[in-house]
């Protein structure tokens, strides 16, 4: 197995390692956070991989629009040399499902929202936007079509729009499991994703005062924390829920997040901790020489980097103080 992995990944891992050096380092990120204004942020970015994108735009306001294009090109490059190009699709599934949600909701409500030009079905979706709702499942790849049909079937019974988002979320994770089935590392990562998503759903539902019935539908299957345990927790107050959750492997972040929540009533910090937790797990990939782990690390690092730039940029454009921006910014991979 070892030598097989070596044969398969030697070139691509070398290349990913070299690409990693071009990610934004802590020093640059801190400089961006402390920058005077959005223009200064762009100035810092112009000396990085984002330089081409910076040259494209006239003002800082426009720059955000280029971020998805940046990711798109990055992913195209990775796909061109990586031995498992479908691995990239696993990470762009969330864009696919964003597009599916927009597509279905547009058809059902006669309103429009913007698609994201990223992911495996990004080329098909704009065309489907023009067509009839019945054509959607015919023109999509099979696994997507199955997801859409199942969700539409449920919607037709209950006519409840929240089925579309919650249903497609569940379908997305099912599909992710299919993609990830070959790798222990990815399965663990996915499980962690689901756990954190479930915790997020649990706490937010409680805050929103949602019924247990809603929760039963919204919670995701196949996480490390079983669904029925989470459902049982929901009977208690937010405090008892927190102490219950502290018994899991996520103890540290839950405790830290709860402390911040008590201070300012916002879950932003907890969400940042979630992202950092996953990034931390993926960072272990640094020590694996050959395999798909380094690429996973690189993809997640890119996703986080784009998020980070967006946060800083929007913050600077709207004069959010640096301190607060720092709180929202995710840890880097480098």
């Amino acid at each position: 197995m070892e030598s097989k992995a070596v044969n398969k990944y030697a070139y691509s891992v070398g290349r990913v390692r070299a690409l990693e050096t071009k990610l934004l380092d802590r020093d640059k990120i801190e400089k961006m956070i402390d920058a005077e204004d959005a223009e200064a942020v762009l100035h810092i970015l112009s000396e990085t991989e984002y330089g081409d994108r910076v040259a494209e735009v006239k003002s800082a306001e426009e720059f955000e629009e280029t971020l998805y294009r940046y990711l798109k090109r990055k992913y195209a490059v990775i796909k061109s040399f990586y031995p498992d190009p479908e691995l990239v699709d696993l990470f762009t599934l969330k864009y696919d499902f964003h597009n599916l949600k927009v597509l279905l909701k547009s058809k059902l409500s006669d309103q429009r929202a913007t698609l994201i030009d990223l992911g495996a079905i990004a080329d098909v979706v704009p065309e489907l936007m023009k067509g009839d709702i019945s054509e959607i499942s015919k023109k999509l790849p099979e696994s997507y079509a199955r997801a859409v049909e199942r969700v539409l079937g449920e919607f037709n019974i209950s006519k409840d729009p929240q089925i579309i988002d919650a249903g497609l979320d569940a379908e997305m994770f099912n599909l992710m499991f299919e993609f990830a089935s070959k790798s222990e590392f990815l399965l663990k990562l996915l499980q962690m994703h689901i756990d954190l998503a479930n915790i997020k759903i649990l706490i937010r539902s409680k805050k929103l005062g949602k019924s247990k019935k809603f929760l039963e539908y919204a919670l995701l299957e196949r996480g490390g924390l079983p669904k029925d345990v989470l459902l049982k927790m929901y009977d208690g107050s937010l405090d008892t829920m927190t102490s219950e959750l502290c018994k899991s492997e996520y103890e540290e972040i839950i405790a830290d997040g709860a402390e911040h929540y008590k201070k300012d009533g916002s879950l932003l910090w907890l969400e940042k901790l979630f992202d950092d937790f996953i990034a931390e797990h993926v960072k272990k990939a640094k020590y694996i020489t050959f395999g798909l782990e380094p690429l996973v690390g690189y993809i997640i690092a890119n996703e986080n980097e784009v998020k980070l730039i967006r946060t800083i940029l929007i913050g600077k454009l709207n004069e959010i103080p640096s301190e607060q921006i720092k709180k929202m910014v995710r840890e880097g991979y480098v």
Binding site: S3, V6, N7, A10, Y11, S12, V13, G14, R15, V16, R17, A18, L19, E20, T21, K22, F81, T289, F290
Partner: protein
């Protein structure tokens, strides 16, 4: 003219193994480093020199093997007129070749992996190329031991 007996045949097998196994190992080793190196060089071509250095490291086992092979060839006079080699002596020569054949043949791919990891290291920190080489060179030690053992043994039996 000495007839080619069993002893000589065994000695030839020894020489062949001493050259072939480390040679194959080195090929695999350098290939791994070469692939990883090509990946890095795609993004940063200026690191070519350092990568080449690391790629050469797993190649040494092949040289050790070739050296041992030559000693056998010279000792048995395969080039200059055959020396009589008894069956027992031939067997001894074959055994004497094994340390370098096995240690060289297996250490080369192993060293290749370490060197490839070293390529990843210099992709990130080119200034640490010395450390990358030391890591890979540690594996080299055992190939050298193999070579040493083979030479000493051949000295005794030839």
């Amino acid at each position: 003219m000495v007839e080619i007996g069993l002893g000589l045949a065994l000695a030839t097998l020894g020489a062949a193994l001493a050259v072939a196994l480390p040679g194959t190992g080195s090929a695999i080793g350098t290939r791994i480093v070469g692939q990883a190196g090509a990946g890095v060089a795609t993004e940063s071509p200026e690191k070519f020199g350092m990568i080449l250095l690391l790629q050469a490291l797993p190649g040494t086992q092949g040289i050790y093997g070739l050296l041992t092979g030559f000693i056998v060839i010279m000792g048995t006079g395969l080039l200059s007129g055959l020396q009589p080699v008894g069956a027992e002596q031939g067997l001894a020569i074959l055994f004497a070749c094994l340390p370098v054949a096995i240690a060289g043949g297996l250490s080369a791919p192993a060293q290749g992996m370490v060197a490839a990891a070293g390529v990843s290291l210099i992709a990130k920190r080119p200034e640490e190329v010395g450390k990358a080489i030391i890591f890979a060179a540690m594996v080299e030690t055992f190939a050298v031991f193999g070579l040493l053992a083979s030479i000493l043994l051949l000295n005794g039996v030839l």
